[in-house]
Symmetry: C2
Subunit: 622 residues, 2 copies
Amino acid sequence: MYGYMGKILRVNLTSGEITEEFPDEKVLKDFLGGAGLSTWYLINETEKGIDPLGPDNKLIFMTGPLTGTSSPSTGRYSVVCKSPLTGGWAQANSAGYWGRDFKRSGFDGVIFEGKSPKPVYLLTNDGKAELVDATEIWGKNTSEVTKILKEKHGKEYNVSGIGPAGENLVKYAAIMNDCDEPYYGRAAGRCGVGAVMGSKNLKAIVSYGRQKIDVAQPDAYREEAKQRYDWVNQSLLKMTLEVYGTATMVDLVNVKGGLPTRNWQTGVFEKVDDINGTAINETILIDRKPCFACPIACGRISEIKEGKYASKGEGPEYESIGALGTMCGLEDLNAITYAHFLCNEYGLDTISTGNTIGFAIECFKKGILTKGDTDGLELDWNDPTLIIELLGKIAHREGIGDLLAEGTRAMAKKLGKDSEKFAMNVKGLELPCYDSRAAKITGLAYATANRGGDHITAYIEGPAFLAMPFMIVDDADVGDPLQEIPEKTKVVKDFEDAFGVFDAIGGCKFMGMVLTAEDWASLISKLLGREFTVDDFRKTGERIYNLERAYLIREGFSRKDDTLPARLLEEPLPEGPAEGHVVDLDPMLDAYYEFRGWDKDGKPKKDKLAELGLDWVIDIIY
Amino acid sequence: MYGYMGKILRVNLTSGEITEEFPDEKVLKDFLGGAGLSTWYLINETEKGIDPLGPDNKLIFMTGPLTGTSSPSTGRYSVVCKSPLTGGWAQANSAGYWGRDFKRSGFDGVIFEGKSPKPVYLLTNDGKAELVDATEIWGKNTSEVTKILKEKHGKEYNVSGIGPAGENLVKYAAIMNDCDEPYYGRAAGRCGVGAVMGSKNLKAIVSYGRQKIDVAQPDAYREEAKQRYDWVNQSLLKMTLEVYGTATMVDLVNVKGGLPTRNWQTGVFEKVDDINGTAINETILIDRKPCFACPIACGRISEIKEGKYASKGEGPEYESIGALGTMCGLEDLNAITYAHFLCNEYGLDTISTGNTIGFAIECFKKGILTKGDTDGLELDWNDPTLIIELLGKIAHREGIGDLLAEGTRAMAKKLGKDSEKFAMNVKGLELPCYDSRAAKITGLAYATANRGGDHITAYIEGPAFLAMPFMIVDDADVGDPLQEIPEKTKVVKDFEDAFGVFDAIGGCKFMGMVLTAEDWASLISKLLGREFTVDDFRKTGERIYNLERAYLIREGFSRKDDTLPARLLEEPLPEGPAEGHVVDLDPMLDAYYEFRGWDKDGKPKKDKLAELGLDWVIDIIY
């Protein structure tokens, strides 16, 4: 079957039984693979209201049809389940090389059910799969686990799995892959997918394979993929991202006054020159690493050569610099980088981790948390020792770490005293490092993203903050960033839909800057051997987006949840280019719902669902 | 008067009389300054059908209201006259520092009339202006002229003027400024404005001044200009253009198969790695220089340390690498760079020069030119010695250089034998280095640009070839570059209008990538002390564009001139991503005229002229 291995594993962890299956053609056509196909399984196979950390939740790893093929930056896999952090739809995805390795081991994806009675890992190779006892590696950090498993099975094997944070059910634990040399870790970071993995006593998936991915028009596909690769390889995107990494954004966001600082109390970080891409290049960078089939190489390999942070690893990425750095007021690049390495080792989502620590510091400074709560720790801004100590406590749920491991929404609920006003999450998912008060439309994107407060569902931050081009939509212009412009909210919808396709095919969203929907539709057609038009591209994205939304609706989400923390809605930014600004969300939300064909409560209308071939979803949410 | 010095010089070169005047408020409001205001003078003060190189032509230097103020990259001045190369509207503009220096000497612009009986230059300082004998510097290269004049008047003075090419009436001679250390020359390159200057026996304008430009809201303007400067300073634009210069584009265009090679016989240059931005950085680059008030610093200072090309100067710029390099099949970066330096010294437009030489080589190889015509020279691709010899012959109109000095259109007319099919010009102006067969909409922009075959009238190459963002228009998306899409031609109109404003205010078009029409409208308002809205921005641009078009119509241009060389319309590209493609111009032209409110022959309709406040133009073209 072109583009697919044609086999999805179903692993019942309770019984240890492993079976193989594959969805029918219509389902594949509608949802392609990756997060799209996984969500189809999730909504069809799980009941409303299940405990995300109980055996009824399913944990689905899924590659896309392009994963592992020669198109640029198509090494990604998605993980989908019910989120323990949000109670809604969880999706996280990652590149590196594991997605390719897993797919080439003979499978498109794997659905984990139940809970193993003891720690296990899944081993896949050459069309075979088995569960293996993981008792000896339980409790270990991600790089050590990877080393041990490679020593055992061979260095050609690759590992995706969890660290202590996932085992200890930290609500924002990540799943990590490619954790040893030379890549040092890529993260499927968000929504607590690592905690769900931990709740199932599943430590890792270890995969290797050389099975071939059949392509309908192999020569034409190879040639076109090569040409598109060359286009990206000769692009402004590459010229900046390869040189500076995602840290490119540090200056760009700060200059717009939207770099969240000290738990979002301001958007201007005074020591930005100490922690930006140039600072990384001049002090700690030792290599630049691409993911599979990627011409860009935005991945950083850094080394702190001496002192108490002496270490080597992946990063720091922009979001980690923001979350672990500016959000916590931390000015020391070495400390930020070391904290990032620790998150990789423990398997922690850096965005949620940094936000949670920043929130805790502000609570402490306001007297909402006291030394009695914090194991005697004094919580303050710009304290590297504190950050590093807290990371260990969170990952192992020790002392105050047990509270922080719950994330900002649960903490605020417990602590009260209006602390939810500055608990920086949407739907329970902590916000990334762009302050919406400095680019209003990003607030809409946070409010509506299906997985919660997220920036890459619609990477609207690109045009809104960074004047970045995006060829993947017909019109990426969002107008004056400091205005709420209802008619521009269609751009958010268009981005969400387009990037939904990327998450379904195994693609990287950075490619949406250089390549068009025409480019991708043509590649998909040549791979699958059926006509896949630009209209199919747009409609498939919209279908997937509405299915994810339907999952949220089923779980009780509605307009009331499509909102922002009070800090963004009510507290004006105190300084910088966006001084005095807050986000006026409702007019944008109204217009966006209209563009989406949703009712005023944010529920997809029946005719919209029917138009997208989602008639069967009507019964689920009406 | 806010934003203006309030004085325009009128210099009658025949009589030597110098007077001062200033247009009334309505004219300023409608055309702002720079090329816009200059065109108002040109169409009102010259008769139809005059000889561009005769005394009846007027040569107008004009700054814009923003020139010399603190907004980012606002150091530009425009030169407008009737073009000896096209017979139509000539405009060339340049930055560096001379525009600021001239304006601060007390004047917004200068209109030269008649012809001096002997070589002269104009000296301006502190509100005073005088004509000075230039006999001793006549015949000298631009850097030497600059040195001599600075030694004479003081190093604080700055010079804009011509080299031997302008004196010898080379039809594509440039006007050069800032020609000595540390900037080594910026060019008002196109349309043969240097020949018009030479025809008037005018060698240079030498200026210095410390007069203040009054700003209506000085604090608000300074603060906002600073913020916009910071935004550009922290942008992807800067990150690429500062590092690689405009040579950034070499790889980006080549990979799309649109880098004109060997007189546009193909769009793929095999030795691109030898001549791109990285090659420059690794071999000859010694400094990066910004123009006045510019955060980017795309200017290159290069030095060839040894060998026969040992020299130091500005460049090479992308267009020069293409015209003098790939168009002539030249692979040697040192030779290309040295040829660029020579063009700066002689005062030659590199784009027209390279195209003309490439055309001559192809004619020779086809037997249309023979050794009998070429002073015995064998013309062939990739011959650095030949290129350098021809540059000297062109600038001094020696031997075969006298023919080449006429440009490709006149040469083809003289040589016949269907050579006009590969004489790569539109309306007589040689084409820049983007092959429209690889991005169709750029062909429309070449065909419609008022000054002839030009890329920065509508810098549509940015979105069409390079996936560059442009914030200055509402929608910069041009769709699939390999399709002719009539509805996307509105983007060309929008760019032409927006950039018409930049040429009127003294701005650099690169700023259109990062800053919006809102940003510029707000700066203009604060400078001028009157409300200047986004709608004013768009309407002013459209008004200026239609006035320029009216000039062309008056001089006999029509739809028949809005075309492309047969090579682009009929000869498919032989290789690369755009293999097999030609440009189907008419459907795009029809749609574009519609968007413009022009009739099917490309003439602005009366109601469009009336709508733009150009009622007075109706009598001129109807």
